[in-house]
């Protein structure tokens, strides 16, 4: 018959530390994910990904310049 080993205070403290760090890191990852979702859906990514012409950009694409008018034909005498 095996006797259960008495749990030492050190092991309890170590477990609480590991559990705390684990939960903190999980919450951090969840927070970064949520923040990313909010930033992407709100289009709040600053200017880095907001260049004219980029997919999802809020910047208008500069309209093309109108073609230059054809030169007037030389007047023949």
């Amino acid at each position: 018959m095996a006797f259960p080993a008495p749990e030492h205070e050190i092991h309890r403290r170590r477990f609480s530390r590991n559990l705390g760090v684990g939960l903190t890191l999980t919450c951090f990852v969840a927070l970064v994910f949520a923040l990313t979702v909010v930033k992407v859906t709100n289009g709040d990514l600053g200017h880095a990904n907001d260049a004219p012409g980029m997919l999802g950009s809020t910047q208008p694409i500069a309209p093309e310049l109108p073609a230059p008018a054809p030169a007037a034909p030389a007047v023949s005498p």
Binding site: P6, E9, R13, G20, V21, L31, A34, L35, N42
Partner: protein
Amino acid sequence: MTDIRSFEAPKEAGFGDFVQLLKPRVMSLVVFTAFVGLLVAPVHLHPVVSFTAILFIALGAGASGALNMWWDADIDAIMRRTKGRPVPAGLVQPGEALAIGLALSGISVVMLALATNILAGALLAFTIFFYAVVYSMWLKRSTPQNIVIGGAAGAFPPMIGWVAATGSISVEAGLMFMLIFMWTPPHFWALALFMNEDYSKAGVPMLTVTHGKKVTRNHVLVYTLALIPFALGLGFTSIGGPVYLAVSVLLNAEFLRGAYRIWKRDEVMAEADSYKVEKAVFRFSLLYLFLHFTALLVEAVLHSSGMGGW
């Protein structure tokens, strides 16, 4: 037969000891004032962004608390009020406190800047630097004006909250800063009057130690008088209003009455009733700050429902 379990176990920190390193009571004040600063701002952030901003402002404050505990471990071990802290108690090694303080400082500043804006992140970095280096390492042990200048570190959070929302500093943010900045000296000196022995033993040059209690009593009254214009002035800005102003007038009248009572007393009277007035003023000073920021919050709610404000 010797029971092996009767030997004293080597000290090992639990998760809660690392949380204590971040000074959770100070963090709760930081969370509240930063929350108000962020909420009363004219620009409204997404709730997730607001939550992230407040969390990392609080974490930055906690990081500076850990750095303070690393640096001040020697005097913390002497003072009755602080000798149970994790580093002097031997639960957390000084090197661990330093590593946690530095790591959390970096994480909080970068995350706040990414979540909101660079200026808010820079202000948080400056606040951590101010508390850990300017206050803890330099002023605290060298001048009796330590808490006057060091009080700036505790005054930044509502300004950072405001800047996180708006991206700029304004009169309102400046006055919220000044409210806490000017409140800190009478608050701490009221405490120092009845905790003088602690500071004296540790060799911290608090005003009570270097200039005596009579001078400290004078200072409490003068700084309370200097605080009043900033507290009332905030009521006339865009975030103030009649509710804030009414609350502020009452709180300032009571705080001034308390400071006057401290000024009128001498050591014989104080020792006779175990510093009853000083302890009462110290407790009231906490309520004073809490209710000022609560009144700002009420004004913001009234404002959003079409009432409040001027």
